[in-house]
């Protein structure tokens, strides 16, 4: 039962940390509860409308595909959580030197990851049952609930195993480790999506996936020490230090360079470009498969691709621009002393952090917002309008991350500086509302008059840029006031 001791200690530690943050921001918890319930309600309502109206054949989403998407999402979440909780922390040494098996350490850490995420899913399912009971007409068969819970468990366990295997010491070992698990994911895709599994079959598929994934968690423990040690395997870089970029302000340039070098050398850049690429490919794939959405009412068909584009820009910007801003101060942890003990004002320090985030806005525009208009041959005015509203959305989401990240920094070393789930959820929903506002207002103007719409989009991008500057200024005040 030593795995239970690891799990219990982690949960107590995390629970106390969460309690402190909740006590500090009680209104945030209330907002979270309302927004969480609201989003479950909206999701159910959308399903209800889709079932009532009936979607065209080329837009049908099968339960198997939906459950596989849940599995895949949880796989990503599990990998991130496992990296921060089980692979990265230096404190893992105190567990690794105890007279217990590495499997117990891995299992204990995995249970912590599972506990947090399953709690969210349980709350969502409970709310869904409540809403269905109160009149929303969405069928919720027990097989779907059971499959969803198993998808969460197997997804998180797969993510845990992949995080360990992906952190091995050499590229060859990483590739071999990740490839060894690929058939499991392939099996999930083939049985759930390609074979169009029914709900009853989904339960069986996920039961099998769960068994394999849990076994993979225990098996991955064999490599946990290697993965953990590999986190402190710095490279030699001989020669004179060279900067990635030059700016007029030398101090600002030096701090931006620090941020960029960290992003590149921690391989976060790969993740950023990978995410943008996947979202971009998904949009183009949707266009290739669906084509013109025949069968939809003309009013809906007209906004189908704008909606897909807006949603994609939101996803890319929220994950690649808002999240880094949220972690900007929290990730400094014990290193805050370095810049804070130098004659560098907080506004320069935070301007550099903000600059390093905003540098990725062009990547989101080029990778997500523009490929479809170019590929599908949208008129130039439409393409220009899309570029401008996407720029506005990217900037406003970057501003939001910077602002909230400095207001609610999380110095917990287990999270890499990211705020806890409650704050994160609230921020993502706030980001959704902000993105909607900056996109909807110019779009309304565009439908009335094209030139006015484009001018409105440009003005919105301008305002969003101002929001970035103001957020960085406000964050700098917080940064200066932070007691290191």
């Amino acid at each position: 039962m030593s795995f239970y001791a690891v799990y219990a200690a982690d949960v107590v530690d995390a629970f106390r940390g969460l309690s402190v943050r909740v006590r500090r921001r009680r209104s945030g918890v209330l907002w979270f509860a309302l927004l969480f319930a609201g989003s479950v309600w909206i999701a159910l309502k959308l399903v209800e409308i889709s079932l009532t109206v009936g979607l065209p054949a080329n837009l049908q989403v099968t339960p198997g595909a939906l459950l596989f998407a849940a599995f895949f999402g949880m796989l990503a979440k599990g990998a991130v959580d496992a990296y921060h909780r089980a692979i990265r922390p230096e404190s893992l040494v105190f567990l690794l030197v105890q007279p217990m098996s590495r499997g117990a350490v891995a299992l204990g850490k995995f249970l912590t990851v599972l506990w947090f995420n399953l709690a969210f899913v349980a709350a969502a399912v409970a709310l869904a049952v409540m809403f269905v009971a109160s009149g929303i007409r969405v069928p919720l068969p027990w097989e779907f609930g059971a499959s969803l819970v198993l998808a969460v468990v197997s997804g998180l366990a797969s993510g845990f195993a992949l995080a360990v295997l992906g952190s091995l010491s050499t590229w060859r070992r990483k590739a071999a480790g990740l490839a060894s698990y690929a058939p499991v994911i392939g099996f999930g895709y083939a049985s759930l999506v390609a074979a169009n599994a029914g709900l009853r079959d989904s339960v069986l598929v996920f039961a099998a996936l769960t068994i394999v994934a849990l076994a993979a968690v225990v098996a991955s423990a064999r490599f946990l020490v290697e993965a953990w040690n590999n986190q402190s395997a710095g490279r030699r870089r001989p020669g004179k230090p060279r900067r990635y970029l030059r700016l007029a302000d030398d101090k600002l340039a030096a701090l931006v360079d620090l941020e960029l070098k960290t992003i590149v050398r921690k391989r976060q850049l790969l993740l950023t470009f990978g995410t943008i690429l996947v979202v971009g490919i998904a949009i183009l794939a949707t266009y290739s498969i669906v084509g013109q959405p025949a069968g939809l009412p003309p009013s809906v068909a007209g906004i189908f691709y704008p909606f897909i584009l807006a949603a994609s820009v939101y996803i890319a910007a929220a994950t690649q621009l808002t999240v880094p801003g949220l972690a900007a101060l929290g990730k400094e942890l014990d290193r805050l002393w370095i810049v804070r003990s130098l004659p560098v004002p907080g506004r320069t320090a935070y301007a550099a952090k903000t600059f390093a985030i905003v540098l990725f806005v062009p990547a989101v525009l080029l990778g997500v917002a523009l490929p479809l208009p170019i590929f599908a041959g949208f008129p130039l005015t439409v393409t220009a309008f899309i570029a401008l509203v996407s720029l506005a959305a990217c900037l406003i989401l970057a501003a939001l991350g910077v602002f909230v990240g400095a207001r609610s920094p999380n110095f917990d070393p287990n999270t890499g500086g990211l705020p806890d789930s409650i704050v994160m959820y609230n921020v993502f929903l706030a980001a959704l509302v902000l993105a909607f506002l900056v996109i909807a207002a110019p779009t309304a103007a565009y439908q009335f008059d094209r030139v006015l719409g484009i001018m409105g989009a440009a003005a919105m991008a301008d305002l969003a840029a101002l929001a970035v500057v103001l957020s960085a200024k406000s964050a700098a005040h917080r940064y200066d006031a932070t007691q290191a």
Partner: protein, 239 residues
């Protein structure tokens, strides 16, 4: 160089520093001795502008630390108790970054870094990303970062942590040279031998209050002990 006037700092209900009055003169090596949690680190962080005091005032070179923190930081070099560094930068990149942030011209910065690297025997540390550093290497790099720009004062929190005897000797020699050239050192240590060997004066802090102050022989005499270690135990035990 360092002056505290009735300095007080609280963490919730705990009083970490309780109305401390203290003055460290220019050219002096001043040691803060105290048990774990006595308030040494807190006091040093107030001088470094990393923490705000809840009462009293702190001055560095006559400047109120709350009035002009940037000027205070420009005058000082600092080594924290557990120096975490930017793990993905090499030592050379780290020192070059600090030189830029301290506003040193590039060529002067390079010369200063080279001199510091020679003094502190930094060799492979300069080329290696810092997440591969051992505890001792991290400490050496933090000391190099605190001293390369020739500050007027040094605030060193347990500076010998993790250092081997050879480097501890180099550090002690450097501190004596630094003080002889007019620099001021405020250092905290658990190791009474170090305090005996390098400090001109020491202060014993216990539960946030200053309970003894003077040269090493004066503190020993006040505690009626034959060495600083016994004096420390007698003072802290009696307090």
């Amino acid at each position: 160089m360092f002056r505290a006037e009735h300095l007080t700092k609280r963490y919730a209900d705990v009083v970490a520093v309780d109305g401390v009055d203290l003055e460290v003169r220019p050219g002096e090596i001043f040691g803060l001795l105290g048990s774990n949690g006595a308030g040494k680190t807190t006091m040093m962080k107030v001088f470094m502008t990393l923490l705000r005091s809840d009462g009293g005032r702190a001055f560095v070179d006559g400047i109120d630390v709350t009035r002009d923190p940037l000027k205070v930081r420009a005058a000082l070099g600092y080594v924290p108790e557990n120096p975490s560094l930017y793990e993905k930068l090499t030592g050379a990149e780290f020192l070059a970054l600090l030189a830029t942030l301290r506003g040193l011209p590039a060529d002067r910065g390079e010369r200063m870094i080279e001199a510091t690297a020679r003094r502190f025997r930094l060799d492979r540390e300069l080329e290696l990303e810092m997440d591969a550093y051992s505890r001792g290497m991290r400490q050496k790099m933090a000391l190099a970062a605190a001293t390369f720009h020739e500050p007027r004062g040094l605030v060193l929190d347990e500076p010998t942590n993790g250092l081997d005897p050879r480097f501890t000797k180099i550090l002690k020699e450097y501190l004596r040279e630094f003080a002889a050239s007019g620099g001021t050192v405020l250092l905290s240590t658990h190791i009474t031998d170090i305090a005996e060997q390098v400090c001109d004066r020491v202060a014993v802090i216990h539960e946030g209050r200053l309970i003894a102050l003077g040269t090493v022989p004066e503190v020993q005499e006040a505690a009626r002990a034959s060495n600083l270690e016994d004096a420390f135990v007698a003072l802290v035990g009696d307090a």
